[in-house]
């Protein structure tokens, strides 16, 4: 029993790593533009399918798909920004609908190109089990957990120390004031979409390397990312990290003790509870969303 719990906690913990990558992309865009990119999960999924294509066509480890994914997903991400920048009237609602439309286009494009079949990696190297005492995981899970830790560290450094990262934060907290300080808001917004794209590319390849992918997954990913974002509260990297791990743990425990079909239910219920009970998240700065 106790091993089962430990194992569930361990897998959930590792899963949290790639959730953090997805969630941070969403949070970054939300920070600068105040828009939820409903197509974000689809961007992650696009990267996962690129990994699949690279693996099945070129017969190499899906990790080598990362450069291709980076280029394509970042391009798509910037395209989303480009389309969003056309919106003038009723910005909040219209951009929500716009990203929803983009999500539909992407989901169906994935469906048309790669069909509705469920795909998973065939690489034995990635799927090999690594065992530490009572805890077992696939090699890919561990690798991508480390990758996401490194990326989160880099992101923290970027946001906290570099000029552009601070510009992004400035635009997020007060766009007008940031403008007066000589920051080009458009540039920082594009930058936030590019960084979101980079994170999504890594997350997508991670997703493919230890899980199964199919076209409808994108929406679930967006919802998970959003759950983590509200759980964390806006503008907190440790919060996103912790929120992701929390979601990963909750899901893993559900799979272990109830059924894998209820896995997504937990995330949704967590989302609603947080929205209703803790509207500022666990670590968020105070600021209304209610």
């Amino acid at each position: 029993m106790i091993e089962l719990v430990l194992q569930a906690l361990y897998s959930g913990f590792l899963q949290g790593g790639s959730y953090a990558l997805i969630a941070f992309g969403l949070a970054l865009v939300f920070g600068t533009l105040k828009i939820i990119n409903l197509a974000h999960g689809e961007l992650v999924l696009l990267s996962a399918y690129i990994a699949y294509t690279v693996e099945s066509r070129m017969d190499v480890n899906p990790v080598f798909a990362i450069p291709f994914a980076l280029v394509l997903v970042c391009l798509c991400s910037v395209l989303v920004y480009y389309l969003l920048s056309f919106i003038r009237k009723d910005r909040e609602l219209n951009s929500l609908i716009l990203t929803y439309g983009i999500a539909i286009v992407l989901t169906n494009a994935l469906l048309m190109i790669w069909s509705a079949d469920v795909r998973a990696t065939t690489s034995p190297w990635l799927q090999e089990a690594l065992v530490f005492g009572p805890l077992a995981s696939m090699r890919s899970e561990l690798i991508f957990f480390l990758v996401s830790l490194i990326l989160m560290g880099a992101l923290w450094w970027w946001l906290a120390r570099s000029w552009y990262g601070r510009a992004v934060r400035a635009v997020a907290s007060n766009r007008e004031a940031a403008k007066l300080m000589g920051i080009d808001p458009r540039l920082t917004e594009i930058l936030s979409f590019v960084v979101a794209g980079i994170l999504a590319s890594f997350a997508g390849v991670a997703l493919f390397s230890y899980g199964v992918i199919h076209p409808p997954l994108g929406e679930a990913l967006t919802l998970k990312a959003f759950t983590i974002t509200v759980l964390a509260g806006l503008g907190s990297i440790p919060g996103v990290m912790l929120g992701s791990i929390l979601l990963g743990l909750a899901e893993a425990l559900t799979v272990t003790f109830a059924s894998s079909a209820l896995q997504d239910l937990v995330g949704m219920i967590l989302l609603l509870i947080v929205l209703f009970v803790l509207p500022n998240g666990l670590f968020g700065v105070t600021g209304g969303r209610g």
């Binding site: 828009i35 939820i36 389309l83 056309f86 919106i87 009237k89 009723d90 909040e92 609602l93 219209n94 929500l96 609908i97 716009l98 929803y100 439309g101 983009i102 999500a103 539909i104 286009v105 992407l106 989901t107 169906n108 494009a109 469906l111 048309m112 069909s115 509705a116 409808p216 929406e219 679930a220 919802l223 959003f226 509200v230 059924s259 079909a261 209820l262 997504d264 239910l265 949704m268 219920i269 989302l271 609603l272 929205l275 209703f276 209304g288 969303r289 209610g290």
Partner: protein
């Protein structure tokens, strides 16, 4: 006023006499018309919430699915008469929306996402509650719709007459709300919710009423659809299509008007089914996404207002 009455008379005459008379013999055409009216009904309910309530919902599939399942289960297990089961389907969807009431505290995107989460939750429940819903296998041989006049039960024409009546009832309800002082308060809330509250309007109550009404309407259409196609499965009844098509239809036709969503639904559904389903058998919904993106970018108010603006300019 006279012109108004005349216009209504023409529409009613067309809907009740000419459509069955002209197309009644063609089963394929009738099924297309019924299906587009089903979507039109959902789009109208969606637009009621979107236009009057000012809330963009990504969760109407929850109402549609719950309405369908409640009605089907009551008709199968408790031998309810179909029309009563359909009303209960509407009430079931209304109860679901009562569960959603806390979301009204949330603003714009948060509301939209919370509703999206609700829709997912209900789909998962319908899939997993096997003892009641029969899980993924779904419910089959759901009792057909009652007979209307001399057309037999379950025939295309009687189904058509029922759905057309439902849609007309929706239009009347929508018009009544929009023209009442509630409608005025709701329009005022669009300009500034705070200012409207200051004048003494209970804005939360009004928004809640719109949510319940919209849910009930969607549930009844869902119930109709369940008895019309006699089969339900969770992925269909709670499918993304019931979220996407009404949004596309309402945005395409213009959700600020009453006829916009209806016309939009018929046009979008027919174009999708007749044209794009043949060109791209899988993933043909991509066209819905494209329509949505293009409409939002170029004419967020919809196509119908665009046309009327054009003609008005010409007459000036």
């Amino acid at each position: 006023m006279k012109v108004m009455l005349l216009r209504w008379a023409v529409v009613v005459l067309l809907a009740y006499f000419f459509v069955p008379w002209l197309f009644g013999a063609n089963a394929y055409l009738m099924s297309l018309i019924v299906a587009s009216l089903v979507i039109g009904g959902v789009a109208l309910a969606w637009a009621l919430l979107g236009n009057l309530g000012g809330m963009i919902s990504f969760g109407h599939s929850a109402f549609f699915g719950v309405g369908a399942y409640v009605s089907a289960l009551l008709a199968i297990n408790a031998d309810f008469p179909i029309w009563l089961a359909m009303v209960c389907g509407g009430i079931g969807a209304l109860l679901v929306s009562v569960l959603m009431l806390p979301t009204l505290r949330l603003k714009g995107p948060y509301f939209a996402i919370a509703i999206l989460a609700y829709a997912q939750i209900f789909r998962i429940i319908a899939t997993e509650w096997r003892s009641l819903t029969n899980g993924v296998a779904g419910l089959s041989s759901i009792p057909s719709l009652p007979a209307v006049l001399w057309w037999e039960s379950g025939s295309k024409i009687s189904s058509y007459l029922i759905v057309v009546t439902l849609v007309f009832a929706f239009i009347l309800v929508y018009r009544w709300v929009a023209n009442s002082h509630y409608g005025l308060a709701l329009r005022a809330m669009h300009e500034s919710e705070d200012a409207t509250r200051v004048v003494g309007v209970n804005s939360t109550l009004l928004k809640a009423a719109m949510l319940l009404l919209s849910a009930c309407m969607t549930g009844m259409i869902g119930a109709f659809n369940a008895h019309y196609i006699n089969f339900l499965e969770p992925d269909y009844a709670f499918g993304g299509v019931w979220i996407v098509i009404p949004i596309v239809a309402a945005i395409f036709g213009g959700y600020r008007t009453i006829w916009g969503p209806l016309v939009g639904a018929v046009v979008v559904y027919l174009v999708d089914q007749l044209l794009f389903k043949n060109i791209f058998p899988s993933g043909h919904q991509i066209i819905l996404g494209i329509i949505l993106v293009v409409m939002i970018l170029f004419s967020p108010g919809g196509l119908l207002p665009l046309l009327t603006v054009r003609t008005r300019k010409r007459t000036c």
